[in-house]
Symmetry: C2
Subunit: 242 residues, 2 copies
């Protein structure tokens, strides 16, 4: 497409966003950085940027085929996605199929049980406040989102869940939980944004329960780069090229 990077608009923990010559398009660059516990733990993970870029592009394509639009236009390099420009909604939408992580801790539940049905939780996107949980009404009453946006995000998150559960299931993996973000387009329409990668998912190997996601890093369970390479291999049926 010949789109070129211009100013760095935003640098996050695992991605950079660049402006382009077209004000409606941005470039998302995936970094090798892994962080946990709100940035307290940090490391560089070999090939993480390339693997997450490839997985995100692939999964955004799968959900789009199934009718859920996203900000992604196309993958333009090993570590870059060309995306439509959006204003990120300050809500992290978490979908859970099994009890794990903060859900287990918050309510004193044992990790590993499958929930009776998928649970959607909303968190206020704020590093300073450690992304606090919110009920549905809070962001609406405080003016951060609108009621229809909450409904839209919940419905899309559950639609994405059907697609992704089937996808990972076919690869012998349980999709335990994951985080989605949405963005506002000019005019106000919402689209799925950010990324879909093992950074923001919990993926457990069926049968063994072996973790194939960023918990390997958070909980010091092994080599995260090797884990991400394995996920890449399962998804694409081939090793990541040099």
């Amino acid at each position: 497409m010949g789109v070129e990077r211009s100013a760095l608009l935003y640098e996050g923990k695992s991605k950079r966003v660049f402006a382009t010559s077209d004000p409606d398009l941005v470039i998302l660059e995936f970094k090798d950085d892994a962080t946990a516990f709100n940035g307290v733990k940090h490391a560089l993970i070999s090939d993480k940027g390339r693997i997450n870029c490839a997985l995100s592009a692939y999964l955004f394509d799968r959900v789009r085929e199934a009718g859920v639009d996203s900000h992604m236009v196309e993958k333009i390099s090993d570590t870059e996605l060309l995306c439509r420009n959006v204003e990120i909604v300050p809500v992290e939408v978490v979908v859970r199929n099994f009890v794990a992580g903060s859900l287990a801790k918050r309510y004193g539940l044992e990790e590993g049980g499958r929930l009776a049905r998928p649970l959607v939780e909303f968190f206020y996107k704020s590093d300073d406040l450690n992304d606090p949980l919110m009920g549905w009404d809070v962001p609406v009453i405080l003016g951060w989102t609108r009621d229809w946006e909450m409904a839209f995000m919940k419905e899309q998150a559950l639609q994405v869940n059907v697609i992704l559960c089937a996808f990972w299931d076919d690869l012998g993996i349980d999709l335990v939980d994951y985080k989605l973000e949405f963005g506002r387009r000019p005019g106000g329409a919402l689209v799925l944004a950010d990324e879909i990668t093992p950074d923001g998912c919990r993926l457990w190997e069926k049968g063994t329960g072996r973790k194939l996601d960023k918990d390997v890093f958070r909980r010091d369970l092994g080599d995260l780069s090797a884990t991400y390479h394995e996920v890449y291999q399962r998804v694409f049926g081939a090793e990541l090229g040099a």
Copy 2:
């Protein structure tokens, strides 16, 4: 009524519940104990039991007149309410009209602003877990409540809010926020339960913002007994008798 206390069924931080000769009736006794920060701070507050018993009885009467039923049958002594026996739903229902307390802290908001509309939040009733916040779906999916119970509690809480806001407003007091609990009757119907007292409300004097509730104790702002006596005086137009 000639109902007599038998076995102590439950002792909480500020109340005791006794069985009676009628299995469908219990006696709620209000204690002088004040606690804060999940029991870490504790004191005996002179006349608190009598004042809270009188206020709860009075306010349960006011909300019943306005169509919201409760577990209360009648006040049977200075510190005791005769109540229908209920199984307490493990959900604390918090209604907020202004930004204060944990809402302010959780989302980095300044205390004191009036919310665009009343906010209802749900917390899992668990001292061990520090009463964690829950979205609507969590207790339903985990089997702690049913969807209709959540809807019922939210609707009743908002109905109670209209009644209580008008009540305190007439006394020159803003009802900032408060906690309600509900109980299941044999057969499954829900009724408002527990208590309605300044232990579980935030009450701010209009104009001055002076606190007339348990925050006086939590935040060491003065003499809690004198504060509760003042609230009693405002509600009943007379001093509490000896």
